[in-house]
């Protein structure tokens, strides 16, 4: 039997394998063939496994997630030669379920970026239009799932790195509630924000993969016990209260095609029985990005300090320790990590701490409270995921602030530690538009239910038009 990886969901792939219609190896080879055929154009993978052990279906892994014996570069030259000696907890969880790593996917260096153009190994390309970015930082996992190079994938999200690429490539991606998925073994960018999450072709696959990777981990003391995951089945939205924050739907820079697709999805939601009401998150949207770009770089400045050339990774020799560290870090880090390390070190330095990092932490509390108040009245909040559809490669690479503003809609709920999921909701100029569903803390099941019903009603075809 030939396998059409472009159309195969993980659920269906799993059924084929467990019922013996296709062997695990045949399925794995089908995806390797797809990679061989389409990845030269897309550059979704930094490393492809020849034959990872396991008896289940394949999974692609963002290259910030540590895999024992399989190179893990985080998209950086400084880790180009690094091969982990241990599996991240999420990988161990996947292996327990028989999942087989098919390869490591491209990412902006240390997950810092919104287009994968900051990867030290070159950008990935959007399967809908290879002249455009797939989003970032998890553009590799997004492009791989979108182009049928893997049935599903793991990503990591600090300020939108799962949700925004899912929007730009037209599939589903969940950033889970902070603390529900272990970060152990995941190359750290900003510890108080980083979360691993599923990248999938539909909401049920996404929910299933979330159930595989989530749960308390004794190796990550910020994790908690997680409510049992319910795979969504219902087609209606009866009783669901949807809040539509006006600042996130009327923000400057949202393309009209994006607004139109989200509006039409909201109308569908109403017709499925949901109530839709406008609400407000005034300070979250105004201050979210500024606040994020103090806290995340501050934490990154410490997290990236361990790359000193002493124990692993790149080493550029120097006359003494100090010179060796400086030369190693200068040669190993690209511009974006350097920029953020400098911003972060500055925000934490004596005399500036209170004004920058301290204030940002206070604002973060305000953002959290603003969200909490809305969830007293609503079950989910809805907005576009990205203000724009996929933009051309090179369009924003020289303007860091324009690039940062890509995340204006995804950042606020990340700062609040809340779960958010992208589902595709239509096309604008032939490119996918993403809809963001934000839930309360541990509200993943509600998001899955809403996302699944909307997905069924919208009927978006996740296969890129040019590949059909």
């Amino acid at each position: 039997m030939t396998v059409d990886t472009l159309r195969l969901s993980a659920e269906e792939a799993n059924r084929l394998v467990t019922q013996g219609e296709v062997s695990s190896d045949e399925l794995y080879r089908a995806y390797l063939d797809a990679i061989g055929e389409r990845d030269p154009e897309l550059h979704a993978f930094l490393y492809v496994c020849e034959n990872d052990p396991g008896e289940g279906i394949p999974i692609a892994i963002k290259d910030v997630i540590g895999t024992r014996g399989i190179p893990t570069t985080a998209g950086s030259k400084i880790l180009e030669s690094y091969v982990p000696v241990y599996d991240a907890t999420v990988i161990a969880n996947c292996r327990k379920r028989g999942l087989r790593v098919i390869g490591k996917t491209n990412t902006d260096e240390f997950a810092m970026g919104s287009s994968t153009e900051n990867s030290a190994f070159g950008p990935s390309h959007n399967p809908w239009d290879p002249t455009r970015v797939p989003g970032g930082s998890g553009g590799g996992s997004a492009a791989a799932v979108s182009a049928g190079l893997a049935p599903w994938a793991l990503g990591s999200d600090t300020g939108g790195s799962i949700k925004q690429p899912a929007a730009l490539c037209g599939h589903v991606g969940l950033r889970p509630t902070y603390g529900t998925v272990s970060r152990y073994g995941v190359v750290a960018f900003a510890s108080s924000l980083d979360q691993v999450g599923p990248v999938a072709r539909n909401v049920r696959d996404c929910a299933f993969l979330y159930s595989v990777i989530s749960g308390r981990d004794t190796n990550d003391s910020t994790t908690v016990d997680v409510p049992r995951v319910e795979l969504p089945t219902a087609d209606d939205l009866k009783g669901l209260r949807i809040g539509v924050p006006k600042e996130m739907n009327g923000a400057e820079g949202i393309e009209s095609g994006v607004t139109a697709a989200v509006q039409s999805a909201l109308e569908r939601a109403e017709s499925l029985g949901a109530s839709v009401e406008e609400c407000s998150l005034p300070r979250s949207v105004d201050y979210g990005v500024a606040c994020y770009y103090l806290i995340a770089p501050a934490e990154a400045s410490a997290n990236l300090a361990r790359y000193d050339g002493v124990r692993y990774g790149l080493r550029d020799d120097g006359a003494d320790f100090r010179e060796m560290v400086m030369r190693t870090r200068d040669a190993g880090f690209g511009d974006e990590p350097k920029r953020r390390i400098m911003i972060g070190a500055y925000a934490l330095s004596a005399g500036y701490y209170d004004a920058y990092y301290g204030t940002a932490q206070k604002v973060r509390t305000v953002i959290k409270r603003e969200h909490d108040e809305l969830f007293e009245r609503f079950d989910v909040l809805v907005s576009p995921t990205s203000p724009t559809v996929a933009f051309p490669i090179g369009a924003k690479i020289d303007d860091p602030v324009a690039m940062y503003m890509n995340d204006v809609l995804t950042i606020p709920s990340c700062m609040a530690g809340l779960p958010g999921m992208n589902i595709p909701c239509g096309l604008s100029e032939g490119l996918p538009v993403g809809l963001q569903l934000i839930g309360p803390q541990f509200g993943e099941n509600t998001i899955f239910r809403a996302g699944h019903a909307l997905e069924q009603a919208i009927g978006f075809d996740v296969v890129p038009e040019r590949l059909r």
Binding site: A74, P84, Y86, D220, S221
Partner: protein, 469 residues
């Protein structure tokens, strides 16, 4: 007019906890071991590794805080302290900053003039660094061509205790350190062995005109690895600063590294570099919130502390003896030996002088047997007493065989024996009396043989001569 100078001394002490495992990972925490044999991704700071705090270490720090009468924080926070150094693999140390576990306590140090209260600013928990080993062809630090790092110590739990600048002389500083060490050892938190570095301390010293409450520029003394050395170092530094001020100079803020091996050589100096550690709350850890129940349970586990015992025992013995017994960890054995019938002063002398030199664990000693030895110590040969004391910690030790070696010096006991020997050797006795005095040794030898060596030779000589006379 001459100024009288008052020294102002503050201490910063690091104590390595002897928990089973390290502070933030499950590696074994122990001295020794092949270099880098006690390591894992967490303490080597591999990408993605995360710290998980050691519950035991937190409890022990709280216990120490309680012993120092500190307030235990309802919410304590770990911070990252950022700096690059090869022995610091994450390039930040997980430590505590403005929300430590224990704060605002004190330790009462008994002195011969009563009790001196020393304020404890804080006691917090952090992780230790690795050990850098500088190597060169010669094997010496000088001219080192490479630095090797042994990460076995990296990430072991360390408690930092900071005092208020409440100390004003070297002797009290030394007593404080000894008392703190004993407290830590008795609480079972640490071996606090200076020679292994499981207790280390830095001393801040300044001087000011007596009666003033200003705080002048201080210098920091590092590398102090014995209490006596610290006391000497403090005295020398006080004298140095006074000389500078009296000559109209100013004291520079600097760190002085004393080399204990070369007591007389001048200190190495390093200018204080205002380093910005960019502290911020460690996002990989949640705040520590010790509940009242836990704190009370730990409080219940603390017995009578050494300081209180010194004061109590000083009522029976001299302050000096009480201090030596308690800080030497000998006072509990002393009390048991006294309870078994030994004279308090004699027992203290034996314990503080001869016993302590044997290195025997006081916990292994049967107090009743030791009491017998103490009582008989002037009656048996010195060599036998020393031999007995050296074995007093052996399992099943009995004093009786040694007590049997009591020296016989009683003439009422010796004379009949000597008379019997003279009678049995009448020929030699005649020769002696006729002037062959060299035979004296023959008779003495016979007596010693007869008494199994327990006779006092001096008395035997005297009596043989008299009875042959």
């Amino acid at each position: 007019m001459t100024t009288t100078w008052e020294p102002v001394i503050g201490l910063e002490i690091h104590v390595q906890l002897k928990t089973e495992t390290k502070m933030f990972c499950r590696c074994r925490n122990g001295f020794g071991g092949e270099p880098n044999s006690q390591t894992c991704p967490v303490c080597l700071a591999f990408p993605g590794a995360l710290p998980v705090p050691n519950r035991r270490a937190i409890e022990e720090t709280i216990k120490l805080g309680l012993a120092l009468d500190c307030a235990i924080a309802e919410r304590a926070v770990f911070h990252r302290k950022n700096y690059f150094y090869p022995d610091n693999p994450k390039a930040y140390q997980i430590s505590q900053y403005d929300e430590p576990l224990c704060a605002e306590g004190h330790l009462d140090v008994p002195t011969s003039d009563g009790v001196t209260r020393i304020g404890i600013t804080r006691a917090h928990l952090e992780e230790d660094a690795a050990k850098n080993v500088h190597v060169a062809a010669s094997g010496r630090i000088h001219g080192a061509t490479a630095t090797l790092v042994d990460f076995n110590r990296c990430g072991t739990p360390l408690v930092e205790i900071v005092t208020e600048p409440d100390l004003h002389d070297a002797d009290t500083a030394k007593r404080f350190l000894q008392l703190l060490r004993q407290t830590v050892v008795e609480l079972g938190l640490s071996d606090a062995e200076l020679e292994h570095g499981s207790m280390r301390f830095d001393v801040n010293v300044s001087v000011r005109p007596a009666g003033s409450d200003e705080l002048r520029t201080r210098t920091e003394l590092k590398n102090m690895n014995s209490f006596n050395f610290a006391a000497k170092g403090i005295e020398r530094e006080i004298a140095r600063q006074i000389r500078i001020y009296e000559a109209g100079g100013v004291v520079d803020q600097e760190t002085l590294h004393f080399d204990p091996a070369h007591e007389e050589s001048p200190p190495m100096r390093s200018k204080e570099e205002a380093q910005d550690y960019r502290y911020f709350p460690e996002p990989d850890l949640v705040p520590v919130e010790p509940g009242a129940e836990l704190v009370e349970r730990l409080r219940g586990e603390i017995g009578e502390l050494p300081g209180a015992r010194i004061s109590r025992i000083s009522e029976t013995l001299s302050f000096y003896d009480a201090d030596v017994l308690v800080t030497g960890g000998l006072d509990r054995l002393w009390a048991a030996v006294v309870a078994a019938g030994a004279d308090p002063k004699d027992a203290a002398n034996v314990l503080a002088n001869q016993f302590v030199a044997t290195g025997i664990d006081p916990g292994a000693v049967d107090a009743g047997e030791l009491a017998k030895l103490v009582a008989a110590r002037t009656d048996i040969p010195r060599a036998s007493f020393d031999e007995a004391l050296a074995k007093v910690g052996d399992p099943g030790f009995r004093a009786d065989p040694y007590l049997a070696e009591r020296v016989v010096a009683d003439t009422a006991e010796l004379d009949p024996i000597i008379e019997r020997i003279i009678e049995a050797n009448s020929g030699q006795a005649e020769q002696y009396r006729s002037g062959k005095h060299g035979l004296l040794g023959f008779f003495v030898g016979q007596v010693m043989k007869e008494t199994g060596g327990s006779a006092d030779p001096r008395v035997v000589n005297e009596r043989v001569r008299a009875l042959l006379g």
